[in-house]
């Protein structure tokens, strides 16, 4: 086994004048040192736009950029060799502010300019609506650069199999997307690359993009030896993906009765040095900036711009938590102005089945947002909110409670999407089900096994999921966009009837009965006319194998999608949506500004629950990750240099920060999902930041306009009022 390390850029923005690998190549234990000259085909990667170099040749755009990659006999030798690769740079001005990046005379991160994408979506006439509105609020909100902080960093192992074919094990979110990116960079046929996306505990969007895969593939093909690469925590922090920091200016209006009449939104997203999924993150931010509300007039102007601040891409919520913070804050402000209960104003405005959404979406199927609000309204936390607020732990602490809603489409919206699955009956009458959507901690494998067992009329123990292996499973798409269950589950449900047909045909031959007269029971087929005539799956399998018949079925389906994209977008709208309502109870220490979330309630409409335990786990995980977004998590990047890249400097919630959580699902039936299920993974995180921020206001009377609401920010907000009160008393 060889061990690989990446030589990364010394500067956040610089021209490369020369790269000298001689000293590294002759260092003890070093087997290979590769540079851009060793990339055989396309020297670029990126799911949407391959604008990130596999190995940089003339320019670096952030400090995670790879300049060389080394394979050595030991991790230490590889590390040492990266220090011996000599790179001469000519530093360039660093673009660290998105607004600066947008100026026409700003130094360019990319030749084409610093604007990755600009979208404008308008419906109705906001100007007229603002003129006629009873109340209008306008504020600017900022959100932090959250890091995924999965406990396993980006890692993989590559090798050649006995036929010389490249085999790669890595913790990605789609083996076929990884396969495509490797194929494109190495110029070899996709089917000559086998990618196995090994189960990981967490990915959250951060492993959707290429990380270690192409570098490993290059080193394996060069050395012909197995190679392992594991990013250090610090490397993951500086080179890995982040959530887009956004500046959202939102102007929201309501009439006298509290009906929302207009929403004008300006979004500025910092996508960092490369595109990755930045364009579609912007689309989803646009879509979610009007929430699950009926708003007849909207005007959304959104930019995603390049800077030298790391790379931002997919992260659970995909642009939604940022805009949700702005919208739900504005709605609370409107409720206060209108003297309407905060939950009532939401009930008054949320969409219902049959409505048209704010971007013209036709909401024809499951729309359970109102029901999630009803669940919240009847919850212990909301009903006893005054009691809970009064129970402060110290005289200088104040408690607050707030409600927040969220919406998010699942899947790729109006974009084409396809998912396939395979089912093979084994000689012992069990089933191997091939689905390539990886297990990333969401419980996909269990859910797929449940769905397959149900569809194949067998015990779940008789189903083996061949997960996320391009050598064993057909392309089922990605584990992303809260879509793994729907994609993979529906692919299984498309394939299972064909396997059942094969089982019936075979049973018909064995029992000598008509297919129409047969029916399934647990792992066997019986004759309806003569129940004593049965054949179990083991005998059917034996028959098929003994007669050298086909035992494997592959089938797929085109994922249903919206008719056409909203003018000015690529992906939105979605065909169907998840919904959620959250309540947060917080206690703010007014002496320090620190906020503790004590209780949290979440109700989601995620369609039919396939696995209640997974459902609870997903919701609880999303809430806790959302608490990090709300209170502590913010990657500090100063002039392109990441200052917080480990668990000491980047603070994620621990078990001590986890509040008492109550989950109360609304089960609807969504026809596009397997057995009525919808997506789930992302909806829980979206309302957390806004619920916590609004609860801080409820506690202190001061509003935070920037997340995370760190003690410093909360204290400053309270202190500014104290100072202004002191001055006015003089």
């Amino acid at each position: 086994m060889l061990y690989a390390k990446v030589k990364r850029s010394k500067y956040p923005h610089a021209l490369i004048k020369s790269i000298d690998t001689k000293r590294a190549e002759t260092a003890p234990g070093v087997v290979a040192v590769l540079t851009y000259k060793d990339v055989p085909a396309t020297n670029g990667f990126g799911i949407l736009i391959p604008d990130q170099p596999v190995l940089c040749w003339e320019k670096v755009r952030y400090m995670g950029d790879a300049v060389a990659v080394v394979a050595a006999e030991t991790p230490e030798a590889a590390e040492e060799a990266t220090n011996l690769v000599e790179v001469e740079y000519s530093p360039l001005p660093v673009i660290s502010e998105p607004l600066e990046a947008m100026k026409h005379d700003a130094p360019k991160v990319h030749e084409k300019g610093n604007i990755l994408r600009h979208s404008r979506v308008t419906v109705g006439n906001v100007d007229e609506a603002f003129r006629n509105a009873a109340f209008v609020v306008e504020n600017t909100y900022r959100t932090g650069r959250q890091m995924h902080m999965y406990l396993e960093t980006e890692a993989g192992v590559g090798m050649l199999d006995e036929n010389g074919k490249l085999v790669l094990y890595s913790g990605g979110q789609s083996p076929y997307r990884d396969q495509m990116q490797i194929s494109r960079a190495l110029g070899i046929k996709a089917e000559d690359i086998r990618v196995i996306s090994t189960p990981v505990g967490g990915a959250f969007g951060g492993k959707e993009e290429n990380t270690v895969q192409i570098h490993l593939a290059l080193l394996v093909t060069k050395t012909k030896r197995p190679v392992k690469m594991v990013w250090s925590r610090e490397e993951s922090g500086s080179a890995g993906m982040k959530r887009h920091p956004m500046v959202v200016t939102m102007k929201t209006a309501a009439d006298q009765e509290g009906r929302l009449v207009a929403n004008q939104v300006r979004i500025l997203a910092d996508t960092g040095a490369y595109a990755s999924l930045g364009p579609t993150v912007l689309d989803v931010a646009i879509e979610n900036s009007c929430g699950p509300y009926r708003i007849p007039n909207v005007d959304i102007d959104a930019y995603s711009v390049y800077t030298n601040n790391g790379v931002a891409g997919a992260f659970r919520g995909f642009g939604s938590p940022q805009v949700n913070f702005a919208l739900e804050s504005n709605i609370d402000i409107l409720a206060e102005k209108l003297h309407i209960d905060r939950l009532e104003i939401r009930k008054k405005n949320v969409v219902r089945k049959g409505d048209t959404g704010p971007l013209g979406q036709k909401l024809q199927d499951s729309v359970g947002i109102y029901e999630t609000l009803q669940k919240a309204e009847s919850s212990d936390l909301w009903n006893n909110r005054e009691k809970y607020k009064a129970q402060t732990s110290a005289p200088w602490c104040k408690r607050g409670i707030a409600v927040s809603t969220a919406v998010k489409g699942f899947g790729f919206g109006a974009l084409p999407d396809f998912a396939a699955a395979s089912i093979q009956i084994t000689p012992t009458g069990k089933f191997v089900v091939g689905v390539s959507c990886p297990e990333i901690g969401q419980g996909a494998i269990t859910a797929y096994a449940q769905i397959a067992a149900e569809a194949l009329h067998c015990d779940i123990a008789d189903v083996y999921i061949a997960s996320a292996d391009s050598g064993l499973a057909p392309d089922s798409g990605t584990s992303s966009a809260s879509m793994g269950l729907v994609r993979g589950g529906n692919a299984i449900l498309t394939t299972a009837p064909k396997m059942n047909e094969l089982l019936l045909e075979t049973a018909s031959k064995i029992i000598a009965d008509q297919k129409a007269d047969l029916e399934f029971q647990e792992s066997q087929i019986i004759s309806k006319r003569n129940p004593k005539k049965t054949v179990n799956y083991i005998d059917i399998a034996q028959y098929l194998y003994n007669s050298s018949s086909e035992t494997r079925i592959v089938a797929g389906y085109n994922v249903p999608r919206a008719d056409k994209p909203v003018e000015g977008s690529i992906e939105i709208p979605h065909l169907a949506y998840m919904y959620g309502t959250a309540i947060a109870l917080v206690e703010v220490d007014t002496l320090t500004g620190s906020t503790k979330v004590l209780k949290f309630f979440l109700s989601t409409d995620s369609g039919k629950m396939i696995n209640p335990q997974s459902y609870t786990g997903q919701c609880e995980g999303a809430i806790v990750q959302g608490l990090g977004f709300a209170l502590t998590e913010e990657t500090q990047i100063n002039e392109g240099i990441t200052k917080t890249n480990n668990f000491t400097t980047y603070i994620i919630p621990t078990i001590c920060d986890v509040p008492e959580i109550q989950i109360d699902p609304v089960e609807t039936y969504e026809k596009v999902g397997p057995f009525g299920a919808k997506g789930l993974g992302e909806i829980g995180i979206i309302p957390v930041g806004s619920a916590v921020a609004n609860a801080i206001y409820d506690a202190t009377g001061e509003r935070v306009f920037t997340l995370p609401a760190t003690p410093e920010r909360v204290y400053k907000a309270m202190n500014e009022r104290r100072n202004s009160a002191t001055k006015s008393n003089r």
Partner: protein, 96 residues
């Protein structure tokens, strides 16, 4: 036949939905231009059109065409091809 020229033979590699739709990941096509390649794929299966073009007939944003490892942004469908060219068609297959 005298006077007729044989179109260049090129290799086309397909990914994601295109590969699934046509049931193959690589094929050889005789085509004078990139447009001929796309037309050839659509002639095999009409639904391929929807994977490459949007409802207005424009190539889908972020669907990338490569000729000999160079991304064509935007692709020129009238571009002449040469014998042995390798063309990659990568449809947009991501979102959130």
């Amino acid at each position: 036949m005298r006077g007729e020229t044989v179109p260049p033979k090129v290799t086309v590699r397909l990914f994601h939905e295109l590969r699934e739709s046509l049931g193959q990941s690589q094929l050889e096509v005789e085509a004078d231009t990139l447009g001929d390649v796309v037309a050839s794929l659509i002639s095999k299966k009409d639904s391929v059109r929807d994977l490459i073009f949007d409802s207005r007939g424009k190539i889908r944003t972020y669907t990338t065409v490569y000729i000999n490892n160079a991304a064509q942004t935007p692709p020129e469908f009238s571009r002449k091809l040469n014998d042995g060219d390798i063309i990659l068609l990568v449809p947009t297959a991501a979102g959130g």
